[in-house]
Symmetry: C2
Subunit: 114 residues, 2 copies
Amino acid sequence: MEMKSAIEALSALAQETRLSIFRALVRAHSPKEGEGGLAAGDIGAALDVPPATLSFHLKEMSHAGLVTSRRDGRSIIYKADLSAMRGLTEFLLEDCCGGVCGTVGTRQRKKECA
Amino acid sequence: MEMKSAIEALSALAQETRLSIFRALVRAHSPKEGEGGLAAGDIGAALDVPPATLSFHLKEMSHAGLVTSRRDGRSIIYKADLSAMRGLTEFLLEDCCGGVCGTVGTRQRKKECA
DNA sequence: TTTATAATTCTATAAGTATGAAAATATGGA
DNA sequence: TCCATATTTTCATACTTATAGAATTATAAA
């Protein structure tokens, strides 16, 4: 991940409606392809957001790579892209402590930085 | 962490100058109290940001809880607060897959979601 | 005390983002 | 085909955020 896409992802999350949408999609997530996620209408109903506003926000999140979508009949199912999240976290903590603490990359951490 | 502070932290990171500052502070981090971090002037010189602009951004980051500061003579040393980062990540991925994947909380993950 | 250095606050201007009503588009069923 | 449902696009308005020059405050050294 590089600067530009990291900023797009962070900007997409830095808004109350979008953050609520994302967290709802995380809860409804499934690691299985073609499963999990929520229909746009269900998100709008759950969070009480009008269709035009919801669509604007979902588009922002798609462009930022935070969600994917698939059509299911008349509905469009949105799903969180969690690999983007991991990439973002690694970008943020890259080379932490100049590399000596091992916060990013290794499974076995050397020190407790984050 | 709750919604409001998460949005403040995400907004603080969702801006090119501030994101560059944060990453520079992550590299210069030390887990030891009173060590690590960078003087405001050094950040400004490294990133070529005028003092007033830099000060504006550092204030945003302080208010968002992403950085702490301590005075050292005429300089003010800013340091990344990495515990805030961990709190933010946990907030974002809370109850992932309805809780079954164990992405947040447990050290030993059940599945690879993020 | 005077001077130099470091950082912040004030301020005006410029630029970017969110909202939701109305209209348009897409799908599936009668 | 015609109708109902689901979602997106368009658009005007309102709101929020970034920038950097000039003035101010704080610390340290001469």
